[in-house]
Protein backbone atom coordinates (compact mmCIF):
# COMPACT_ATOMS: atom_id res chain seq x y z
CA UNK A 1 0.00 0.00 0.00
CA UNK A 2 1.17 3.53 -0.78
CA UNK A 3 0.45 6.70 1.11
CA UNK A 4 -1.86 8.09 -1.55
CA UNK A 5 -4.00 4.94 -1.51
CA UNK A 6 -5.12 5.96 1.99
CA UNK A 7 -7.17 8.88 0.65
CA UNK A 8 -9.20 6.61 -1.59
CA UNK A 9 -10.19 4.11 1.06
CA UNK A 10 -12.47 4.53 4.06
CA UNK A 11 -11.04 3.74 7.49
CA UNK A 12 -12.31 0.50 8.99
CA UNK A 13 -13.56 2.29 12.10
CA UNK A 14 -16.00 4.35 10.00
CA UNK A 15 -17.89 1.24 8.88
CA UNK A 16 -20.59 1.87 11.45
CA UNK A 17 -20.56 -1.71 12.66
CA UNK A 18 -20.06 -2.95 16.19
CA UNK A 19 -22.25 -2.54 19.24
CA UNK A 20 -24.30 0.67 19.63
CA UNK A 21 -22.83 2.11 16.44
CA UNK A 22 -25.80 4.42 15.88
CA UNK A 23 -24.49 6.51 18.77
CA UNK A 24 -20.96 5.26 19.43
CA UNK A 25 -18.74 6.11 16.47
CA UNK A 26 -15.53 4.55 17.68
CA UNK A 27 -13.53 3.14 20.55
CA UNK A 28 -9.89 4.00 20.88
CA UNK A 29 -7.20 2.73 23.24
CA UNK A 30 -3.72 4.20 23.20
CA UNK A 31 -0.58 3.27 25.10
CA UNK A 32 2.39 5.55 25.75
CA UNK A 33 5.83 3.92 25.92
CA UNK A 34 9.43 5.11 26.01
CA UNK A 35 12.68 3.38 25.21
CA UNK A 36 14.76 3.07 28.38
CA UNK A 37 18.01 4.09 26.70
CA UNK A 38 17.02 7.54 25.39
CA UNK A 39 15.99 10.80 27.03
CA UNK A 40 12.35 11.80 26.76
CA UNK A 41 11.53 13.77 23.62
CA UNK A 42 11.96 17.32 24.96
CA UNK A 43 15.46 16.48 26.17
CA UNK A 44 16.53 14.72 22.95
CA UNK A 45 19.22 16.02 20.64
CA UNK A 46 18.48 15.77 16.90
CA UNK A 47 20.78 12.80 16.93
CA UNK A 48 18.78 11.10 19.73
CA UNK A 49 15.49 11.64 17.89
CA UNK A 50 16.89 10.18 14.70
CA UNK A 51 18.32 7.22 16.63
CA UNK A 52 14.96 6.52 18.32
CA UNK A 53 13.14 6.71 15.00
CA UNK A 54 15.63 4.34 13.35
CA UNK A 55 15.60 1.91 16.27
CA UNK A 56 11.83 1.68 16.36
CA UNK A 57 11.60 1.41 12.58
CA UNK A 58 14.14 -1.43 12.50
CA UNK A 59 12.46 -3.30 15.37
CA UNK A 60 9.03 -3.04 13.78
CA UNK A 61 10.46 -4.34 10.49
CA UNK A 62 11.84 -7.37 12.31
CA UNK A 63 8.38 -8.42 13.44
CA UNK A 64 6.60 -10.57 10.87
CA UNK A 65 3.22 -9.68 12.42
CA UNK A 66 3.85 -6.01 11.62
CA UNK A 67 5.49 -6.36 8.23
CA UNK A 68 2.54 -5.02 6.23
CA UNK A 69 2.44 -1.70 8.01
CA UNK A 70 2.73 1.48 5.97
CA UNK A 71 5.69 3.27 7.54
CA UNK A 72 5.50 7.02 6.95
CA UNK A 73 8.32 9.49 7.63
CA UNK A 74 6.23 12.36 9.00
CA UNK A 75 9.19 14.75 9.06
CA UNK A 76 9.47 14.93 5.26
CA UNK A 77 5.72 14.90 4.61
CA UNK A 78 4.18 18.03 3.04
CA UNK A 79 1.90 19.87 5.41
CA UNK A 80 -1.30 18.85 3.59
CA UNK A 81 -0.37 15.19 4.05
CA UNK A 82 0.31 15.67 7.72
CA UNK A 83 -3.02 17.43 8.10
CA UNK A 84 -4.63 14.54 6.22
CA UNK A 85 -3.30 12.06 8.78
CA UNK A 86 -4.68 14.21 11.60
CA UNK A 87 -8.12 14.37 9.99
CA UNK A 88 -7.93 10.64 9.59
CA UNK A 89 -7.19 10.25 13.34
CA UNK A 90 -3.98 8.37 12.54
CA UNK A 91 -1.69 10.94 14.17
CA UNK A 92 -2.24 13.70 16.71
CA UNK A 93 -2.18 17.37 15.88
CA UNK A 94 0.88 17.72 18.08
CA UNK A 95 2.65 15.03 16.07
CA UNK A 96 1.76 16.76 12.79
CA UNK A 97 2.92 20.17 13.93
CA UNK A 98 6.12 19.34 15.81
CA UNK A 99 9.57 19.22 14.21
CA UNK A 100 12.41 16.75 13.86
CA UNK A 101 12.66 13.03 13.14
CA UNK A 102 9.28 11.39 13.65
CA UNK A 103 7.13 8.79 11.95
CA UNK A 104 3.95 6.80 11.99
CA UNK A 105 3.35 3.16 11.11
CA UNK A 106 -0.17 2.54 9.84
CA UNK A 107 -2.10 -0.68 9.58
CA UNK A 108 -3.55 -1.28 6.08
CA UNK A 109 -7.14 -1.19 7.31
CA UNK A 110 -6.32 1.69 9.66
CA UNK A 111 -7.26 -0.39 12.67
CA UNK A 112 -4.17 0.86 14.47
CA UNK A 113 -1.27 3.27 14.15
CA UNK A 114 2.05 3.60 15.94
CA UNK A 115 3.38 7.14 16.35
CA UNK A 116 7.13 7.45 16.82
CA UNK A 117 8.52 10.52 18.62
CA UNK A 118 5.27 12.12 19.62
CA UNK A 119 5.25 13.37 23.23
CA UNK A 120 6.57 9.92 24.12
CA UNK A 121 8.86 7.76 21.98
CA UNK A 122 6.02 5.48 21.08
CA UNK A 123 2.30 6.11 21.13
CA UNK A 124 0.34 3.12 19.91
CA UNK A 125 -3.37 3.30 19.30
CA UNK A 126 -6.14 1.00 18.14
CA UNK A 127 -9.42 2.41 16.79
CA UNK A 128 -12.47 0.23 16.37
CA UNK A 129 -15.95 0.92 15.08
CA UNK A 130 -18.70 1.11 17.71
CA UNK A 131 -18.36 0.35 21.43
CA UNK A 132 -15.69 -2.32 21.53
CA UNK A 133 -13.44 -1.72 24.53
CA UNK A 134 -12.29 -5.27 25.23
CA UNK A 135 -11.30 -5.98 21.64
CA UNK A 136 -9.46 -2.68 21.33
CA UNK A 137 -7.47 -3.37 24.51
CA UNK A 138 -6.69 -6.91 23.47
CA UNK A 139 -5.33 -5.79 20.12
CA UNK A 140 -3.17 -2.94 21.41
CA UNK A 141 -1.99 -5.15 24.29
CA UNK A 142 -0.80 -7.74 21.76
CA UNK A 143 1.03 -5.14 19.70
CA UNK A 144 2.68 -3.86 22.89
CA UNK A 145 3.81 -7.43 23.69
CA UNK A 146 5.24 -7.88 20.20
CA UNK A 147 7.26 -4.68 20.25
CA UNK A 148 8.43 -5.32 23.78
CA UNK A 149 10.17 -8.48 22.58
CA UNK A 150 12.47 -6.19 20.63
CA UNK A 151 13.04 -3.13 22.81
CA UNK A 152 13.39 -2.27 26.49
CA UNK A 153 10.69 0.11 27.67
CA UNK A 154 11.32 2.48 30.57
CA UNK A 155 9.56 0.90 33.54
CA UNK A 156 9.64 1.61 37.27
CA UNK A 157 8.64 -0.88 39.97
CA UNK A 158 6.44 1.65 41.67
CA UNK A 159 5.35 4.04 38.92
CA UNK A 160 4.93 1.55 36.07
CA UNK A 161 5.61 2.64 32.48
CA UNK A 162 7.46 5.95 32.61
CA UNK A 163 6.25 8.81 30.45
CA UNK A 164 7.48 12.31 29.64
CA UNK A 165 4.50 13.80 31.46
CA UNK A 166 3.58 12.43 34.90
CA UNK A 167 -0.11 12.64 33.91
CA UNK A 168 0.37 9.53 31.71
CA UNK A 169 2.57 7.44 33.98
CA UNK A 170 1.61 3.92 35.11
CA UNK A 171 -0.37 2.15 32.42
CA UNK A 172 0.27 4.92 29.89
CA UNK A 173 -3.22 4.10 28.73
CA UNK A 174 -5.92 6.42 27.43
CA UNK A 175 -9.29 4.89 26.64
CA UNK A 176 -11.57 7.07 24.51
CA UNK A 177 -15.07 6.46 23.28
CA UNK A 178 -16.42 8.81 20.62
CA UNK A 179 -20.14 9.44 20.79
CA UNK A 180 -22.55 11.22 18.50
CA UNK A 181 -24.95 13.13 20.78
CA UNK A 182 -27.05 15.50 18.65
CA UNK A 183 -30.28 15.09 20.63
CA UNK A 184 -28.56 15.91 23.93
CA UNK A 185 -27.20 19.04 22.27
CA UNK A 186 -30.59 20.00 20.82
CA UNK A 187 -32.32 19.57 24.16
CA UNK A 188 -29.48 21.47 25.84
CA UNK A 189 -28.66 18.75 28.30
CA UNK A 190 -25.13 18.16 27.10
CA UNK A 191 -23.36 20.58 29.46
CA UNK A 192 -25.04 18.90 32.38
CA UNK A 193 -23.89 15.50 31.31
CA UNK A 194 -20.33 16.69 30.93
CA UNK A 195 -20.17 18.27 34.30
CA UNK A 196 -21.17 15.00 35.87
CA UNK A 197 -18.54 13.14 33.85
CA UNK A 198 -15.80 15.52 34.95
CA UNK A 199 -16.79 14.98 38.53
CA UNK A 200 -15.90 11.32 38.17
CA UNK A 201 -12.51 12.07 36.59
CA UNK A 202 -13.44 11.52 32.98
CA UNK A 203 -12.38 14.00 30.31
CA UNK A 204 -14.62 15.20 27.48
CA UNK A 205 -13.13 16.42 24.21
CA UNK A 206 -14.26 17.15 20.68
CA UNK A 207 -13.64 15.15 17.51
CA UNK A 208 -10.01 16.16 17.14
CA UNK A 209 -8.93 15.88 20.74
CA UNK A 210 -7.67 18.41 23.19
CA UNK A 211 -8.98 21.91 22.65
CA UNK A 212 -11.00 21.00 19.58
CA UNK A 213 -14.58 22.16 19.28
CA UNK A 214 -17.33 19.62 19.49
CA UNK A 215 -17.92 19.75 15.75
CA UNK A 216 -20.77 17.68 14.42
CA UNK A 217 -21.97 16.91 17.96
CA UNK A 218 -19.14 14.41 18.45
CA UNK A 219 -17.76 13.98 21.92
CA UNK A 220 -14.89 11.84 23.16
CA UNK A 221 -15.05 10.51 26.68
CA UNK A 222 -11.77 9.35 28.16
CA UNK A 223 -10.04 8.46 31.40
CA UNK A 224 -7.73 10.98 33.05
CA UNK A 225 -6.12 8.78 35.66
CA UNK A 226 -3.54 6.31 34.35
CA UNK A 227 -1.83 5.07 37.53
CA UNK A 228 -3.03 2.86 40.36
CA UNK A 229 -5.62 0.95 38.35
CA UNK A 230 -5.26 -1.99 36.04
CA UNK A 231 -5.96 -1.62 32.34
CA UNK A 232 -9.20 -3.56 32.82
CA UNK A 233 -10.28 -1.19 35.58
CA UNK A 234 -9.60 1.79 33.34
CA UNK A 235 -11.61 0.21 30.53
CA UNK A 236 -14.46 -0.33 32.96
CA UNK A 237 -14.28 3.20 34.25
CA UNK A 238 -15.03 4.53 30.78
CA UNK A 239 -17.17 1.56 29.76
CA UNK A 240 -19.49 1.95 32.74
CA UNK A 241 -20.70 5.43 31.87
CA UNK A 242 -21.17 4.88 28.15
CA UNK A 243 -24.43 2.88 28.40
CA UNK A 244 -25.88 5.66 30.56
CA UNK A 245 -24.89 8.27 27.98
CA UNK A 246 -26.37 6.17 25.19
CA UNK A 247 -29.52 5.87 27.28
CA UNK A 248 -29.80 9.64 27.73
CA UNK A 249 -29.23 10.28 24.04
CA UNK A 250 -31.90 7.73 23.11
CA UNK A 251 -34.32 9.27 25.58
CA UNK A 252 -33.67 12.72 24.14
CA UNK A 253 -34.23 11.36 20.62
CA UNK A 254 -37.48 9.69 21.71
CA UNK A 255 -38.56 12.94 23.22
CA UNK A 256 -37.82 14.89 20.03
CA UNK A 257 -39.69 12.32 17.95
CA UNK A 258 -42.64 12.29 20.32
CA UNK A 259 -42.97 15.98 21.11
CA UNK A 260 -41.77 17.59 17.93
CA UNK A 261 -41.85 15.06 15.16
CA UNK A 262 -42.66 17.56 12.44
CA UNK A 263 -39.99 20.03 13.58
CA UNK A 264 -37.42 17.29 13.76
CA UNK A 265 -38.34 15.83 10.39
CA UNK A 266 -38.23 19.33 8.93
CA UNK A 267 -34.81 20.02 10.39
CA UNK A 268 -33.38 16.74 9.16
CA UNK A 269 -34.88 17.13 5.67
CA UNK A 270 -33.63 20.68 5.30
CA UNK A 271 -30.16 19.62 6.36
CA UNK A 272 -30.23 16.83 3.79
CA UNK A 273 -31.56 19.22 1.14
CA UNK A 274 -28.78 21.73 1.70
CA UNK A 275 -26.08 19.09 1.65
CA UNK A 276 -27.44 17.65 -1.62
CA UNK A 277 -27.81 20.95 -3.43
CA UNK A 278 -25.37 23.53 -2.00
CA UNK A 279 -22.85 24.93 -4.49
CA UNK A 280 -20.36 26.08 -1.90
CA UNK A 281 -20.24 25.05 1.74
CA UNK A 282 -17.87 25.42 4.70
CA UNK A 283 -16.53 22.57 6.75
CA UNK A 284 -18.36 23.79 9.85
CA UNK A 285 -21.74 23.96 8.15
CA UNK A 286 -21.16 20.55 6.62
CA UNK A 287 -20.41 18.97 9.99
CA UNK A 288 -23.41 20.65 11.54
CA UNK A 289 -25.81 19.48 8.82
CA UNK A 290 -24.32 16.00 8.53
CA UNK A 291 -24.98 15.60 12.24
CA UNK A 292 -28.72 16.19 11.72
CA UNK A 293 -28.76 13.88 8.71
CA UNK A 294 -26.96 11.16 10.63
CA UNK A 295 -29.53 11.27 13.39
CA UNK A 296 -32.29 11.39 10.76
CA UNK A 297 -31.04 8.19 9.18
CA UNK A 298 -30.87 6.49 12.58
CA UNK A 299 -34.45 7.54 13.31
CA UNK A 300 -35.71 6.36 9.92
CA UNK A 301 -36.52 9.88 8.72
CA UNK A 302 -34.26 9.53 5.70
CA UNK A 303 -34.16 6.39 3.64
CA UNK A 304 -31.67 5.17 1.04
CA UNK A 305 -28.71 6.55 2.93
CA UNK A 306 -26.28 4.40 4.87
CA UNK A 307 -24.54 5.30 8.13
CA UNK A 308 -21.06 4.31 6.84
CA UNK A 309 -21.51 6.81 3.97
CA UNK A 310 -22.26 9.61 6.40
CA UNK A 311 -19.49 8.60 8.78
CA UNK A 312 -17.10 8.76 5.87
CA UNK A 313 -18.37 12.19 4.77
CA UNK A 314 -17.57 13.69 8.19
CA UNK A 315 -13.91 12.83 7.60
CA UNK A 316 -13.59 13.07 3.82
CA UNK A 317 -15.01 16.60 3.64
CA UNK A 318 -12.23 17.94 5.88
CA UNK A 319 -9.82 20.40 4.20
CA UNK A 320 -6.81 18.13 3.65
CA UNK A 321 -9.00 15.24 2.50
CA UNK A 322 -10.62 17.34 -0.21
CA UNK A 323 -7.20 18.38 -1.43
CA UNK A 324 -5.89 14.83 -1.46
CA UNK A 325 -9.01 13.55 -3.22
CA UNK A 326 -8.96 16.30 -5.85
CA UNK A 327 -5.21 15.96 -6.25
CA UNK A 328 -4.49 19.67 -5.99
CA UNK A 329 -3.92 22.41 -3.46
CA UNK A 330 -7.08 24.43 -2.86
CA UNK A 331 -7.65 27.66 -0.96
CA UNK A 332 -10.66 28.07 1.33
CA UNK A 333 -13.16 29.19 -1.30
CA UNK A 334 -12.04 26.54 -3.80
CA UNK A 335 -12.36 23.94 -1.04
CA UNK A 336 -15.89 25.08 -0.25
CA UNK A 337 -16.86 24.49 -3.89
CA UNK A 338 -15.05 21.16 -4.04
CA UNK A 339 -16.76 20.13 -0.79
CA UNK A 340 -20.21 20.94 -2.19
CA UNK A 341 -19.49 18.88 -5.33
CA UNK A 342 -18.15 16.00 -3.27
CA UNK A 343 -21.27 16.00 -1.09
CA UNK A 344 -23.52 16.01 -4.16
CA UNK A 345 -21.69 13.08 -5.71
CA UNK A 346 -21.99 11.07 -2.51
CA UNK A 347 -25.45 12.01 -1.27
CA UNK A 348 -27.71 12.23 -4.31
CA UNK A 349 -29.43 8.95 -4.98
CA UNK A 350 -28.29 8.64 -8.61
CA UNK A 351 -24.99 10.37 -8.04
CA UNK A 352 -25.34 12.18 -11.38
CA UNK A 353 -26.35 15.54 -10.10
CA UNK A 354 -30.06 15.11 -10.73
CA UNK A 355 -32.18 16.44 -7.88
CA UNK A 356 -33.10 13.89 -5.25
CA UNK A 357 -36.77 14.84 -5.40
CA UNK A 358 -37.12 13.21 -8.81
CA UNK A 359 -37.71 9.72 -7.50
Amino acid sequence: MKFNDLAEQSSAWLRGIGPESDIVISTRVRLARNLAEFPFIRRCTDHDRAAIEQTVHRRIDELPELKDLLYVDVNVLPSVDRQFLVERQLISREHAESEGARAVAIDQQENYSLMVNEEDHLRMQVIRSGLDLEAAWEQIGNIDDLIEQKVTFAFHEKYGYLTACPTNVGTGMRVSVMLHLPALVMTRQIEKVFRSLQKINLAVRGLYGEGSQAMGDFYQISNQITLGRTEEELLNQVGEVVPALIGYERKARDYLVREGHRDLHDRVSRAYGILCTAQTISSEETMHLLSSVRMGVNLGLIEDLEIPTINKLFIHTQPAHLQKLSGSELDTSARNIERAMYLQRNLRPDGNGNPAEQN
Partner: protein, 183 residues
Protein backbone atom coordinates in the same frame (compact mmCIF):
# COMPACT_ATOMS: atom_id res chain seq x y z
CA UNK B 1 -46.35 17.90 31.70
CA UNK B 2 -46.07 21.30 33.39
CA UNK B 3 -42.90 23.13 34.29
CA UNK B 4 -41.96 22.60 37.92
CA UNK B 5 -41.52 26.34 38.40
CA UNK B 6 -44.53 27.78 36.58
CA UNK B 7 -47.68 26.97 34.65
CA UNK B 8 -46.13 26.69 31.21
CA UNK B 9 -45.62 23.31 29.57
CA UNK B 10 -42.32 21.66 30.37
CA UNK B 11 -40.25 21.41 27.22
CA UNK B 12 -36.93 20.65 28.90
CA UNK B 13 -36.47 17.40 30.69
CA UNK B 14 -33.10 17.50 32.30
CA UNK B 15 -31.50 14.44 33.72
CA UNK B 16 -28.76 14.96 36.23
CA UNK B 17 -26.12 12.43 37.01
CA UNK B 18 -24.63 12.75 40.44
CA UNK B 19 -22.29 9.98 41.42
CA UNK B 20 -24.52 7.53 39.64
CA UNK B 21 -27.67 9.02 41.15
CA UNK B 22 -30.22 10.09 38.59
CA UNK B 23 -32.29 13.20 39.16
CA UNK B 24 -34.88 14.47 36.68
CA UNK B 25 -36.06 18.05 36.34
CA UNK B 26 -38.89 19.23 34.08
CA UNK B 27 -38.88 22.89 33.07
CA UNK B 28 -40.20 25.35 30.51
CA UNK B 29 -37.63 26.94 28.22
CA UNK B 30 -37.21 30.08 30.29
CA UNK B 31 -36.73 28.30 33.59
CA UNK B 32 -34.51 25.72 31.97
CA UNK B 33 -32.19 28.44 30.76
CA UNK B 34 -31.98 29.94 34.22
CA UNK B 35 -31.46 26.53 35.73
CA UNK B 36 -28.63 25.61 33.37
CA UNK B 37 -26.94 29.00 33.73
CA UNK B 38 -27.02 28.72 37.48
CA UNK B 39 -25.34 25.36 37.56
CA UNK B 40 -22.68 26.59 35.18
CA UNK B 41 -21.59 29.05 37.82
CA UNK B 42 -20.96 26.32 40.33
CA UNK B 43 -17.40 25.60 41.34
CA UNK B 44 -15.20 24.93 38.35
CA UNK B 45 -15.25 21.21 37.77
CA UNK B 46 -11.79 20.83 36.34
CA UNK B 47 -10.12 20.64 39.71
CA UNK B 48 -6.50 21.67 39.82
CA UNK B 49 -5.47 18.06 40.25
CA UNK B 50 -6.55 17.19 36.74
CA UNK B 51 -3.90 19.39 35.18
CA UNK B 52 -0.21 19.05 35.72
CA UNK B 53 0.41 22.77 36.03
CA UNK B 54 -2.35 23.14 38.60
CA UNK B 55 -1.14 20.23 40.66
CA UNK B 56 2.42 21.48 40.58
CA UNK B 57 1.50 25.01 41.55
CA UNK B 58 -0.65 23.78 44.39
CA UNK B 59 2.01 21.49 45.75
CA UNK B 60 4.84 24.00 45.56
CA UNK B 61 2.75 26.70 47.17
CA UNK B 62 2.00 24.43 50.10
CA UNK B 63 5.35 22.91 50.80
CA UNK B 64 8.13 25.38 50.06
CA UNK B 65 9.49 28.72 51.05
CA UNK B 66 11.02 30.86 48.32
CA UNK B 67 14.53 29.77 49.27
CA UNK B 68 13.62 26.12 49.39
CA UNK B 69 12.00 26.45 46.00
CA UNK B 70 15.07 28.18 44.56
CA UNK B 71 17.26 25.36 45.86
CA UNK B 72 14.86 22.76 44.58
CA UNK B 73 14.79 24.39 41.16
CA UNK B 74 18.55 23.96 40.83
CA UNK B 75 18.54 20.24 41.52
CA UNK B 76 19.31 18.32 38.41
CA UNK B 77 19.05 14.77 37.19
CA UNK B 78 22.49 13.10 37.08
CA UNK B 79 21.51 11.18 33.96
CA UNK B 80 19.95 13.70 31.58
CA UNK B 81 20.92 16.93 33.32
CA UNK B 82 17.46 18.50 33.36
CA UNK B 83 16.89 20.81 36.33
CA UNK B 84 13.72 20.74 38.39
CA UNK B 85 13.13 24.30 37.23
CA UNK B 86 13.15 23.17 33.59
CA UNK B 87 10.63 20.43 34.36
CA UNK B 88 8.43 22.87 36.25
CA UNK B 89 8.61 25.27 33.36
CA UNK B 90 7.98 22.84 30.51
CA UNK B 91 5.82 20.30 32.30
CA UNK B 92 7.77 17.46 30.69
CA UNK B 93 10.46 15.32 32.28
CA UNK B 94 13.87 14.75 30.71
CA UNK B 95 14.44 11.02 31.04
CA UNK B 96 13.22 7.91 32.90
CA UNK B 97 15.73 8.48 35.69
CA UNK B 98 13.99 11.73 36.67
CA UNK B 99 11.40 9.61 38.42
CA UNK B 100 14.23 8.44 40.71
CA UNK B 101 16.17 11.71 40.92
CA UNK B 102 13.12 13.87 41.70
CA UNK B 103 11.15 11.23 43.58
CA UNK B 104 10.63 13.41 46.67
CA UNK B 105 8.94 16.07 44.59
CA UNK B 106 7.24 13.81 42.08
CA UNK B 107 5.60 11.43 44.52
CA UNK B 108 3.18 13.97 46.03
CA UNK B 109 2.57 15.37 42.55
CA UNK B 110 1.74 11.95 41.14
CA UNK B 111 -0.43 11.18 44.14
CA UNK B 112 -2.28 14.45 43.56
CA UNK B 113 -2.87 13.72 39.86
CA UNK B 114 -3.75 10.04 40.05
CA UNK B 115 -4.84 9.52 43.62
CA UNK B 116 -2.35 6.68 43.78
CA UNK B 117 1.40 6.07 43.68
CA UNK B 118 1.60 2.36 42.94
CA UNK B 119 1.26 0.92 39.45
CA UNK B 120 -1.17 -1.98 39.29
CA UNK B 121 -1.42 -2.83 35.61
CA UNK B 122 0.62 -4.63 33.00
CA UNK B 123 4.38 -5.09 33.35
CA UNK B 124 7.08 -5.74 30.78
CA UNK B 125 7.90 -9.39 30.44
CA UNK B 126 11.56 -8.92 31.23
CA UNK B 127 12.99 -7.47 34.43
CA UNK B 128 12.80 -3.70 34.82
CA UNK B 129 16.37 -3.79 36.17
CA UNK B 130 17.62 -3.95 32.61
CA UNK B 131 15.67 -0.77 31.89
CA UNK B 132 17.68 1.09 34.51
CA UNK B 133 20.85 -0.29 32.96
CA UNK B 134 19.79 0.93 29.54
CA UNK B 135 19.08 4.34 31.03
CA UNK B 136 22.83 4.56 31.84
CA UNK B 137 23.29 4.97 28.10
CA UNK B 138 21.60 8.36 28.26
CA UNK B 139 24.26 9.55 30.70
CA UNK B 140 27.17 8.09 28.74
CA UNK B 141 26.02 9.66 25.48
CA UNK B 142 25.67 13.02 27.20
CA UNK B 143 29.14 12.72 28.73
CA UNK B 144 30.56 11.82 25.34
CA UNK B 145 28.98 14.86 23.74
CA UNK B 146 30.44 17.05 26.51
CA UNK B 147 33.86 15.45 26.09
CA UNK B 148 33.80 16.21 22.38
CA UNK B 149 32.75 19.78 23.09
CA UNK B 150 35.73 20.36 25.39
CA UNK B 151 37.94 18.53 22.87
CA UNK B 152 38.84 15.74 25.28
CA UNK B 153 38.94 13.17 22.50
CA UNK B 154 40.63 10.51 24.57
CA UNK B 155 37.75 10.49 27.06
CA UNK B 156 35.26 10.71 24.23
CA UNK B 157 36.62 7.63 22.55
CA UNK B 158 36.60 5.67 25.83
CA UNK B 159 32.99 6.65 26.27
CA UNK B 160 32.18 5.71 22.70
CA UNK B 161 33.54 2.20 23.26
CA UNK B 162 31.58 1.89 26.46
CA UNK B 163 28.39 3.01 24.71
CA UNK B 164 28.91 0.56 21.85
CA UNK B 165 29.51 -2.27 24.29
CA UNK B 166 26.26 -1.49 26.12
CA UNK B 167 24.26 -0.94 22.94
CA UNK B 168 25.33 -4.30 21.55
CA UNK B 169 24.78 -6.14 24.78
CA UNK B 170 22.04 -8.68 24.29
CA UNK B 171 19.23 -8.31 26.77
CA UNK B 172 20.35 -11.08 29.10
CA UNK B 173 17.04 -10.97 30.90
CA UNK B 174 14.99 -11.28 27.72
CA UNK B 175 12.73 -14.30 27.45
CA UNK B 176 15.03 -17.31 27.14
CA UNK B 177 13.45 -18.27 23.88
CA UNK B 178 10.79 -16.51 21.95
CA UNK B 179 9.43 -19.81 20.69
CA UNK B 180 8.60 -20.65 24.28
CA UNK B 181 5.47 -18.61 23.99
CA UNK B 182 4.08 -16.13 26.42
CA UNK B 183 3.33 -16.49 30.07
Amino acid sequence: MRCQMCERPATFHITELNDGEVNEVHLCEEHARGYLAQSEEETPVASSSSSLAGALAQQLELGQTAEELARLDQQSCPVCGITFYQFRNQGRLGCPHDYVAFDNELEPLISNIHGATQHKGKRPRHLPASGEQRTELIKLRREMKEAVEREDYERASQLRDEIRRLEDEPREDAPASETEGRE
